[in-house]
Chain length 83, copies 2
């Protein structure tokens, strides 16, 4: 089976988000007052696996080993079956 | 009313995604064969507006003027009422 995993990586609470801060300030300079801007990254990974459970487990390992830094990031994974 | 807009920015079809390519290769070196990795950025913007229509219009302007580069990016906006 082929699965698409959407991994969302964001800073843990209390971590600085300088890109969000900069965009909020730049929006203000353009005349758009907003209350907050928070950034996150998305990774859409298409992979083969024998079951949804195995796909989810593999993607979780990928996040732990490479994609996220568990010290500073929270991550969530959504899995969708493609075929 | 307060709204949360989730803006998703991704490369247009045909644009290179070097971060995705690098992660796919690095995953392969770690023993995880995947079919593809595509990256995108998320911006969660909290703002005040008189209606959902006005909020959506403002966020669209922000995307056009600052957050996205319409030549190379596609973007989508999801709006949620907070209070």
């Amino acid at each position: 089976m082929q699965y698409q995993a959407t991994v969302r990586i964001e800073q843990k609470a209390g971590m600085l988000d300088p890109e969000g801060t900069t965009i909020k300030r730049a929006l203000g300079q353009l005349g758009y007052q907003v209350d907050s801007v928070k950034t996150a990254r998305l990774y859409e990974i298409v992979l083969e696996a024998e079951s949804a459970e195995l796909a989810a487990q593999k993607v979780d390992e990928m996040c732990q080993k490479l994609i996220a830094n568990p010290i500073i990031h929270n991550y969530t994974v959504e899995l969708k079956e493609l075929k």
